[in-house]
Symmetry: C2
Subunit: 407 residues, 2 copies
C-alpha cells in the first residue's frame, strides 16, 4: 500500500470538489430558509409592485401641473380626493388636480408622480399650493419597476439571506425547494484520545476534534454525525468507516498525523468499496498530511490529529467541498483586507496559513500575527482569522496588504 503519492497544491485539491454530487433537494417552509441554498430558479408570476406605489407622504399629481412652481410662484391644484391604504382610488387625476396620498398608497390613474407634503400647503379643503416642481416618476414606483413578471428573481445555488426570504414572501412563496443539508460523519482516531467526560490518564488527551469539527460542520450548513473515537486498529477503523459510508454524505477522520498511522488510514480507506485515493498530502501548512479519498462518490478526509491543523484544513479545504455538495453556486467569499502589523517569514513550496488578530486603529485595519507554537490551542482562540502566504513567497513584509479569512 506504500505507493508514492505526490503532494498536491491547494488548487489541484479544490478542483476535485466538482466531481462529487450535490445532495438531494427538499421543500421547506419559508420560516426555515435562512442560510439554505435554493435548488431551483424562482420566477416571478406578477409585476412587483403591481400598482403604482407612492414612496412619500404627499399628493399624487401630474408632474406637468407642477412645472415652473416655486416659492415665489406656486402652482394651485384642486384636491380630487384622498387615497386610502390598501384600496384602489375610484377617481383619476387630470391636469391641475391632485389627491392626498400616504407612503405605500396606490397612485390614481392619470397621476404620474407624488409631491412631498413638505413642498405644499393646504389652502382649504379643496386647494393646495405647490412650491416645487416634480419630475414624472418621482417619489413613486412604477408597475414592475422592482421586479418584472416572468423574470428570474432568485437563482438555483443562491444562499438565502433575510432579504431573499423577504423577496420570497413578496411573491407569496410559502415554501422553497432547497438542497438537503449533507450529513457529515466524524470519526476521531488515536490510542491517546479519550471521550470528554473521562479524566485523561497520563499521556492521554480529551477528544477535542469531534466537538470542534461538529461545530465547524454545523457552521458550514451541514449536519454532524458523531461516530466517536476509534483506537489505532485496522478492523475497528474499517468497521467505523463502513458504517459512516452508509450513513453519511462525507466523512472526516481526524488523528494519526504520525507517518505510521497515516499509512494505516490510507490502508483502511483503500480497502473500502469503490475507493480511490485522490490526495495524499497538500502543500499547505499546517495541514500537509491531509488525505482525500473518493469512496462510492463520497469524500473521505484524513485530517491532521492536532485540532488547530484540523481547523485550518477544514476552513481552507473541506468547507469548499461541503459548500459544493450543498449546491452553493457563485459563492462570494469576503476576505477582509488589512495591513500586516509585522514581518512574517514562510517556507517556499507551500502555502502557509498564519493565525491573525484584527485590530482597528485610526481607521486602519491591521492583521497581527499571533505568536506562539503552532500546536497551541490558545493561538486559535485568540485569532480572528487566517492569512495566506502564497506558495512562491518567502514571507511578507510589515504593512503588506493581506486578505483575512475570518474564522
Amino acid at each position: 500500500m506504500k505507493e508514492f503519492f505526490k503532494v498536491k497544491s491547494l488548487d489541484q485539491v479544490l478542483e476535485y470538489a466538482s466531481g462529487f454530487p450535490h445532495t438531494g433537494t427538499e421543500e421547506i417552509p419559508l420560516s426555515d430558509t435562512l442560510g439554505r441554498i435554493l435548488a431551483k430558479d424562482i420566477v416571478s408570476d406578477v409585476d412587483l409592485p403591481d400598482f403604482m406605489r407612492a414612496t412619500m407622504d404627499g399628493y399624487a399629481v401630474r408632474a406637468s401641473s407642477t412645472f415652473g412652481a416655486s416659492e415665489a410662484n406656486p402652482a394651485y391644484l384642486n384636491i380630487r380626493g384622498a387615497v386610502y391604504m390598501g384600496q384602489s382610488p375610484d377617481f383619476s387625476i387630470g391636469p391641475g388636480e391632485c389627491a392626498r396620498i400616504s407612503t405605500g398608497g396606490m397612485v390614481p390613474p392619470g397621476a404620474d408622480s407624488v409631491i412631498m407634503i413638505e413642498h405644499t400647503e393646504a389652502m382649504d379643503d379643496t386647494t393646495i399650493e405647490v412650491f416645487r416642481s416634480v419630475a414624472p416618476g418621482q417619489h413613486m414606483i412604477e408597475i414592475g419597476e422592482d421586479f418584472k413578471n416572468e423574470e428570474i428573481i432568485l437563482s438555483r445555488g443562491q444562499k438565502l439571506r433575510p432579504q431573499e426570504t423577504g423577496l420570497l414572501a413578496a411573491f407569496g412563496k410559502q415554501r422553497a425547494e432547497v438542497f438537503k443539508k449533507p450529513v457529515i460523519g466524524i470519526i476521531s482516531t488515536g490510542d491517546e484520545v479519550v471521550p470528554i467526560e473521562k479524566s485523561p490518564g497520563s499521556g492521554q488527551i480529551r477528544d477535542i476534534n469531534t466537538h470542534t469539527l461538529s461545530a465547524l460542520v454545523r457552521e458550514a450548513g451541514a449536519i454532524p454525525l458523531v461516530f466517536g473515537i476509534v483506537q489505532d486498529d485496522y478492523d475497528m477503523l474499517f468497521e467505523k468507516c463502513s458504517q459512516a459510508l452508509s450513513q453519511s454524505d462525507m466523512v472526516l477522520i481526524s488523528g494519526g498525523s504520525s507517518v505510521g498511522v497515516r499509512d494505516f488510514t490510507i490502508e483502511v480507506l483503500s480497502a473500502l468499496p469503490e475507493s480511490d485515493i485522490l490526495v495524499h498530502g497538500i502543500s499547505i501548512s499546517p495541514g500537509k498530511p491531509t488525505i482525500l479519498a473518493k469512496v462510492r462518490n463520497k469524500a473521505f478526509w484524513g485530517l491532521p490529529g492536532h485540532v488547530v491543523s484540523a481547523m485550518v484544513v477544514f476552513s481552507i479545504v473541506v468547507r469548499p467541498f461541503i459548500e459544493h455538495i450543498c449546491g452553493l453556486g457563485h459563492k462570494k467569499e469576503i476576505r477582509v483586507p488589512a495591513l500586516l502589523s509585522r514581518n512574517v517569514s514562510s517556507a517556499q513550496g507551500r502555502a502557509d496559513y498564519v493565525r491573525v488578530r484584527l485590530i482597528e486603529k485610526d481607521g486602519v485595519l491591521r492583521a497581527e500575527p499571533i505568536l506562539g507554537k503552532s500546536g497551541l490551542l490558545n493561538t486559535i482562540i485568540k485569532a480572528d482569522g487566517l492569512i495566506e502566504i502564497g506558495i512562491n513567497t518567502e514571507g511578507l513584509d510589515k504593512d503588506t496588504k493581506v486578505f483575512v479569512i475570518i474564522l
Copy 2:
C-alpha cells in the same frame, strides 16, 4: 399625545441599549453551544497539556546531547526505548540517550526536546545518528504552556465559535451556561398588508416585513415570535402589543411610516403600562421615523413600513440592542475596508446608509453603490452590505476608503 420629540443621533440611541436587562441564563449541552454567549467565566482546573507533549515525529532527547551536531559531525545517541501513544513511558532519558516518539506522545522524564525524524538516521536497533542540534523546548509543548491551571480560559459575554467549543471539550465541559435566546415579538401593521398566502387585491401588498424581520432576528441569535398583521386600529394594536409584552423580551412593530400612523403607534405605545418613549426619530436615512419605547424594561420598536428601511434600521440600530440583551460583551464587529467605486452624495445632518456591492479586481476591493430608488427591494437583494456616510459629510468621493457592514 403630540409632544415634541427631538430627532436623536444614532449614538444617542445606541446608548439606551445598556439600560435594558440581559436575558436569564440556561445550561446547554456542548453540542448546542455554537453562536451562543457564555454567561460566566470558565476557569481551567488543570494545566493544558498536563504532560510534555511531542509536536513532531522523531526522538525525545536532552537538547544538550545534540549541541554541535551537523551532517559532517553527527551526534550518536542510544535508543532507550519507544513511547507509545496514550501511555506514560516507564523510563527516563539521560545524556546521550533518546526515545522514539510520535506527534502527541508523552516526552519521557529527563528529555527536554524532540528532534525531527528527518534530521536523524537509525544505524541499528540501539543507535541513531543526529545531524542537527535542537534547542530545549523545541518540537514539544511544556506542561501548562497552552493554558495554566486556574486561568480564566473563556469570559462571560464571549460568543462561542467552533474553537471555543473545542476548548470547552479540552477541559471536559459537557455543558455550558449561556444566556437564553431572547424572544422577539414581531407585529406587522397597515391596512394595505395581507398575509403572504393571500393574493393581494388592488393597492395591497403581501406581508414581507414579518418574514424578513423573523430571519434577521434568527440571524442575530434570537427567537422570532410572529403576532401577525394588525390593521391601523388603536384597540387592535393595543391588544396585540399587550399580548406581545407578556410573551416577548423585545417587540418590533413595522409599518405605518406616514405621519398619521406614526402618531398612532406612539399613542398605543404610550398607553402601555410603565411606558416611556425614548426615541421618536433618528437622524439616519433610511430609518428616520424609527420609534423606541421602553415598556416594563422591554424595548418596543416602531420600524419603518418599507422593508428596505426596516432592514437597515434593524442592522444598524436594533441588532446591537438584541446583542446587548443576549449578554454579548466586547463585541468585535468586522467592517470590511473597501474603496468607493464612484462619488456618492448625501445630505448633511443625518447619517446615510448606502447599499453597496463588493467587487474584487486585481487585489483591490471596491464598494459599488447600488443604483435605483431606495424603495426597491431589488437594491437590497443585489447588495452585499451598507456603507455609512457620516452625519457631517456632504458626500464621499470616488476612491474614498469606506468600511462595509456586511448584510
